[in-house]
Amino acid sequence: MKLQKLELNAFRGATQPLSLEFDPAKRITLIFGENGTGKSSISDALICLCTTDHGSLDDISGADKSYLVAADRQPNDLLIRLHTDQGLFTAAMAGKKIVHKQSAAPPALRHLRRSSVVDLATAAPAKRYEQLAAYFDLSGIVKSETTLRDLLRNTRLEADRIARALEAVEQILDATWKNEGAPHDNWEQWANTELQKDLSAEYNKLTGIRAAIEAWNRAKIAHEKLLETQEEGRNAADIRKQAERLLDEQHAAAHAPALLPVLEEARKYLSAEHPDDNTCPVCKQPADHAQLLMHLQTRLTQMNSLREASLAASAARTEHERLQTLWQGNLESLNADVLKFAAAMNTLENAPALKDMLSALQNNELLPRKRAELFAASFDTLHNFLTGKIVESDSISKALDQYGLIRENWNAIMENRAAADKNNALLTAAGAALHIVESARKTYIESELRAVSAEVDALYQALHPNENIGDVRLFLKEKGRNSLELTARFHHHTDIAPQSLYSESHLDTLALCIFFALAKRYGNSDTILLMDDVLGACDEAHLDRFIQLLQDQAEHFAHIIVTTHYRPWRERYRQQGDIHLIELLPWTPEGGIGYRRD
């Protein structure tokens, strides 16, 4: 890339339009100007156009980016244009931001300003690392490394969780084993042996006992109901007997007991409305209706006791018959339940005597009433037998529950062990992967730093031959993260921090060499190098060597732009035809930045 022209309008010191033409035949341009002539404005313009930085404004904490606009000018007026053989690059102000007007990426520019010189050579290791990180960015790798580290940490946590869960279930089995008297060598052997047992017979036995107990309970309830109805029936029979005897007595006492229902019907008839009220309904002779009713009521009152006895006997008869029916139903229910119970009992191992009893209960020829009596007679024997079965079922149930507990915890142990194996495999893999990523990153950085260090030292030796300084080494601190160390030799003092013994000018040139080495390694032939007032006063010999170094390095870059207020430098370049020298004129608010056009 060849630079042709830089145009500024309303940018910093360029209160008036400035058009700075580059000599396309020369790779180095020295912009000389006294303090306040606009050197930094030109540098800042190039930095704003080619990078996301803002030049000298970045050194001022909290500086408003609107200061990029020249005094008394509007942001809309601001314009930076760089003409090159590869096209025109333009930047303008939008709000408080510099925006690029073309879709193509701006030219690559590496810049070094006075403040950065200090950071490179003498700043704290972390600050120095930040400067370096701008050249080789490994932020993506570092982010991915962090997520891998997260995976490792979380997999470790998962391993702990699984171990705790495993320990808990193992403790349960261990306690159960000890509770059982610690048979076999250990709980694991015991549990394994227990799980080999076939408990299906026990299970079937328990199912049979439970079915028999359930059938027994139903038969027992049916028997109780039958006894209850039987008792109620007996009482009802007594009441009926008494009521019928009383009725017989009333009948005997009455003259014509058969008359009672006739009189009651006659009263009902006469109480109703009839068209011929004053005639007898039987003989049709005239009769006094009211008087007839009065006589009827008198006769019925006289027969009231008979009537009540009749009603009581009727009610007692009905109740007795109802209870007889109920008893019959309960008897049938009991028979059905007894047969079911006997069938359920047949599935169990029973004593011979009990077998005979059950067989008798199941006899088809047995009348229901007889079966009920037989059941009642066998009740205590059956009750005692089933009480024993309940104890037996509790014992089987306990054994089956323990088997279930062993099975459940054993399964949990197997699952946790499998999960632990899987998790440990991931843990190992994640650890190995993290080691590779970390090592690769560190090796990469160290390798880059070795290469940069070698280049810095070569450049430094060119600037300071036979001065017994150098052996510059940039390296990462052993355990520090993002911490870049810088050591060098000073005569017989090796691996010292340069700022401890180097002079200010030696530190300046060291920073310049670091900058050159980095720009060269991480730049290319299209990279523009910008050095804004980076060299202070130095002796002639060092200045000559620095000028030579610039010329030697120029071939690696598209263009090197140097600004300085150092007069001896200008004097050297005035005499050198292969350097493009631009001399700035004193700045004025009305005229802005101007330069000598020879």
Binding site: Y135, F136, D137, L138, S139, G140, I141, V142, K143, S144, T147, L148, D150, L151, N154, K422, A425, L426, A429, A430, A432, A433, I436, V437, A440, R441, T443, Y444, S447, E448, R450, A451, A454, R521, Y522, G523, N524
Partner: protein
Amino acid sequence: MDNSETANPAARNSNELLAEQIFRQLLEAKLISNDGKAAFISGLGQGTLKEGNWKIALEQVLHTQPMSDETSET
């Protein structure tokens, strides 16, 4: 690994360059497989590789490896 001889490494992004090197090393160590190579390298270099992505990549190889005790039994 020594990239000091690599001419002009800035021609390629440092993240991309190192991501490829790391991928190769992980592959050689049989920690990841070659499946989804481009996406893995891109994610690794750009820093978009999440914890879950790492897990999937590592487990993919772990799940395809026969268990050592199983192989010894057979």
